[in-house]
Symmetry: C2
Subunit: 191 residues, 2 copies
């Protein structure tokens, strides 16, 4: 379906607000126009290109926000975090992350992004994974950008546990989902 | 408790048969004698040192036994495998596998050993993890040798699924346990 330029630019703007990580190629395919048209639309609307949009998000250094581990131990890049509430990271899948034979990303890399995000979201000095249930929903390939969202869904302070639900998507499609039960040192209120 | 030399050597022999990966240090601690005494016992009993025992096991090259992935993609070293039945691997935890802050092995490395063993045990050209439930039972540290055992417990050919139970131990204590549901291409009988 073709939109008028005005309609397209309106929808384009909304699409980028909803998903700042959408690429020009994805937008071109979605609106059935050329990548060049999308670039011109963005220029007219003063929307920076994807790389600049990501830089803008990453300009905030989350090093001082994450407590449970040094930020360079997080697999993927944290792009938003509110401790004990939610966290968001992106992980770009490269050739070294996939099976040689079929080009599908190896499970432990997706798990590593998810698990380290589950550790990072904890508002405490120590966080360890106790139990996890994970689903590999859809194959991921080199070149894919995986966006993981971790949501803290509950706590059991008597057992020093925090419960997290996590979803990883590629182009808004779920590729991985997991539940994590984390052990943590006692929360501030109990010290 | 101290044993007589004869008793000790008999028990030592049985202990090494039960667990070929036991170290001289572990044996010394178990029998409450010096490491030197264990070495002399082994010499008298003609039991090679741990490194040689492992080499003996690893002398068999499993490259032609594993079908679902090239053997260099397995995390850890496979030391025994019977396709669609069971598999065994060892993984030596090094400094690069642990959290800087607390020296505890990162979950995704234990998961990587387990998950790649679950892939390797499948008697088919393609195997992908669909679902997994895992428990991190006990912290693992640098210097630990993790032995993973994968056991195929069931199949659902109509859904191309294989079910695997996996246990990882350090010095005979369980550190990690998991259940894996694997997708595979159709078995030979159905081709």
């Amino acid at each position: 379906m073709k939109y008028s330029k005005k309609e397209r630019q309106k929808l384009l703007q909304q699409t980028i607000i909803d998903n700042p990580f959408v690429t020009d190629e994805q937008l071109a395919s979605q609106f059935n126009v050329s990548v060049q048209t999308i670039r011109l639309d963005r220029m007219e609307l003063s929307i920076p290109e994807l790389r600049e949009r990501i830089k803008g998000v990453a300009a905030h250094n989350f090093e001082n926000d994450v407590k449970s581990l040094p930020i360079d131990e997080v697999i993927g890049d944290i792009i938003d975090i509110e401790l004990d509430e939610r966290a968001l990271s992106i992980f770009d899948v490269k050739e070294e992350h996939v099976f040689q034979r079929n080009g599908i990303a190896r499970g432990h890399h997706l798990f590593a992004q998810a698990n380290s995000l589950a550790v990072a979201v904890i508002d405490d000095d120590l966080a360890l994974t106790v139990h996890s249930e994970i689903h590999f929903v859809k194959p991921v390939r080199a070149g894919d950008r995986v966006i993981s969202k971790a949501l803290v869904t509950g706590k059991d302070d008597s057992k020093s546990r925090t419960f997290i639900e996590l979803t990883s998507t590629v182009e808004n499609e779920v590729v991985f989902a997991g539940k994590f039960e984390m052990y943590r040192t006692k929360g501030k209120g109990e010290k």
